[in-house]
């Protein structure tokens, strides 16, 4: 018996397959919905607090509120941390979920081109988490600024720098998701992967200070540090010893994403799945 005529292998079939895999599990839709709601809730809570406290704020704070504090309410550090962890976990689970169950062997028996499988996963994970980030960022901006406009201190979508803030918050999700996938490819164990992600993305930035040049540079080179720079609008009220740049922060996003994809592809291609 000879093999029947085979159609050309198409990358988009792999993407479609990964899409089916993503949405045929119970947890991804729930994880996405719950994390988006949680991020919006955390940001809204900050705006509501400012709205309520506004009459008691001293003149110094009121002067700086627009745009610095109003923009910080649009996407708070708390919201960013939840988004980072959610996106990183979703990215990690699409791969570590296959290694921990053994599914990866069935996947590679069907598609021996491992790098193509990883590329297809990258496309789906990036797209899904970018939408998560965009929904969380746009909704947070609309809701928080609507709350603040009750005190006439809300910002419109076309305020200078607003687009950058939205983009930086939205893209934080796919950057972290790809980092999650890379660690999953290296570690291949669910709990260890999630703990390592938490340490790297959330704990490490809070441990390093901006007091000396080396640690300040490390902070700026982490996704969270880059995000913090990108969502800052207006001049800082306190002097900054080691400033970073907007362009540099976008490059940090790009390098983390690129490095993550390379690590994931190389690790999966060269290290065979355990027997």
């Amino acid at each position: 018996m000879t093999a029947p005529a085979e159609p050309r292998a198409r990358f988009r079939d792999l993407v479609a397959a990964e899409w089916i895999k993503m949405w045929s599990l119970r947890s991804p839709p729930w994880a996405l919905a719950v994390s988006a709601l949680l991020v919006v809730a955390i940001n809204t809570n900050a705006a509501v607090a400012d709205h309520n406290n506004w009459p008691g704020y001293p003149e110094g704070i009121r002067e700086l509120f627009v745009p610095i504090w109003a923009m910080r309410d649009a996407f708070t550090i708390g919201g960013a941390m939840v988004l980072m962890l959610a996106a990183a976990s979703i990215g990690a689970l699409t791969l570590v979920g296959e290694y921990s169950t053994g599914q990866i062997r069935t996947t590679f028996a069907a598609v021996p081109a491992r790098r193509s499988v990883l590329a297809a996963k990258t496309v789906v994970v990036t797209a899904v988490t970018a939408v998560l980030g965009a929904v969380a960022a746009v909704t947070s901006f609309a809701v928080t600024q609507a709350v603040l406009s009750g005190r006439r201190i809300g910002l419109p979508f076309d305020y200078p720098g607003a687009t950058r803030v939205l983009l930086a918050s939205a893209l934080l999700a796919p950057v972290c998701a790809l980092v999650g996938m890379a660690l999953a490819a290296l570690i291949r164990h669910t709990a260890t992967t999630i703990v390592t992600l938490t340490l790297l993305l959330l704990v490490l930035p809070s441990l390093v200070t901006e007091r000396d040049h080396a640690t300040a540079s490390l902070l700026h080179a982490l996704p969270q540090g880059a995000w913090a720079e990108l969502v800052t609008v207006g001049d800082s009220p306190v002097p900054v010893t080691y400033p970073t740049t907007i362009a540099g922060s976008w490059i940090v996003y790009g390098l983390w994403s690129l490095a993550a994809v390379v690590v994931a592809v190389v690790a999966v291609h060269h290290r065979d799945p355990a027997p």
């Binding site: 093999a3 792999l14 069907a110 065979d272």
Partner: protein
């Protein structure tokens, strides 16, 4: 056609497979036998590129499997029924696999029907019994209608009806001209199914031949004799060069090897010893297998040989 040539796989200091060479032909069911830990699963993983060999080659229809961009149309493999994400339904699992290989969605329904899982298609795999997972694994192997099929211990967990079904399926797949390679650690599973056998022990080839040839290599045939005077007959037959053992409980039953039934009858007749029963038995495949692999059992019990 599967060709394995000088295949070697080492994990650290452990050699799982060593200089293994054999060919598996299309149109036949080939049993892949060996005791636990003999290297059967390792060989199958090397065949579908899940692991890289330390040395040698394993090709399917002339090509290493890992050089193929998509696999399901070339080789269908059931290596471990548990290699599956339990969170998906059977249909979703197969749909994703079909899509990845550009196979039409109609193949999913077809193979679900074929393995008898149509009614469970929308249930999550996590709730499946081992037998159902084996059926799903077989469905996965059949999905791309491939010319070469590999099954690692497919009988595990199947009920008697399932075992009969799977034997019939293998026979049919081979009759359609496909290459069917089925591993097992039990000879009895293969006796009624396989045409050819590849037998390995401790990662090395012991035999690669037809079932008939293999059976002929086994233990010499024996003759069972029932007589009221076993002691006298034992002495006479031993003098003729035969091995004689007495079988309990009554002690009147002798098992004779090394002498044919005709000669035993003559000897008894000459010495006027009455014989109540004289039966020639042929060694079973199971005995042939046990004998050939006895020296290569990795996890043996009892006295070391």
């Amino acid at each position: 056609m599967i060709e394995v040539n000088e295949l070697t796989k080492r994990y650290g200091g452990t050699t799982a497979v060593k200089d293994l060479s054999f060919t598996v032909r299309p149109g036949r069911v080939t049993g892949f036998l060996g005791p636990n830990g003999a290297g059967k699963s390792t060989t199958l993983r090397l065949l579908i590129g899940l692991n890289r060999p330390t040395g040698g080659t394993a090709t399917i229809d002339g090509r290493p499997f890992r050089d193929l961009p998509r696999g399901l149309r070339h080789v269908g493999a059931l290596l471990d029924a548990h290699d599956i994400h339990g969170g998906r339904t059977a249909r979703a699992h197969l749909s994703a696999l079909a899509r990845s290989n550009g196979l039409p969605g109609s193949r999913v329904d077809h193979v679900l029907d074929e393995v008898g899982l149509a009614a469970a298609a929308r249930r999550r795999i996590g709730g499946f019994s081992l037998g159902m997972k084996q059926r799903l694994g077989i469905a996965t192997a059949l999905l791309g209608d491939p010319p070469v099929l590999l099954f690692d211990e497919p009988i595990n967990g199947l009920d008697p009806e399932g075992v009969l079904w799977v034997r019939g399926l293998f026979r049919r797949l081979a009759a359609e001209g496909r290459t069917v390679f089925v591993s097992s650690h039990l000879m009895s599973e293969m006796e009624n199914t396989a045409d050819d056998l590849v037998v390995i022990g401790r990662g090395q080839l012991i035999a690669a031949e037809s079932v008939t040839e293999f059976a002929a290599r086994g233990t010499r045939s024996n003759v069972t004799v029932r007589t009221p005077d076993p002691a006298a007959l034992t002495d006479l037959l031993t003098a003729e060069g035969a091995d004689v053992t007495t079988r309990p409980p009554a002690g009147d039953l002798l098992v004779v090897t090394g002498l044919g039934a005709t000669r035993i009858g003559e000897v008894a007749h000459q010495h006027r010893i009455r014989i109540n029963e004289l039966t020639t038995g042929s060694a079973s495949l199971e005995e042939a297998f046990m004998e050939l692999t006895a020296d290569s059992v990795e996890y043996g019990t009892g006295d070391p040989r």
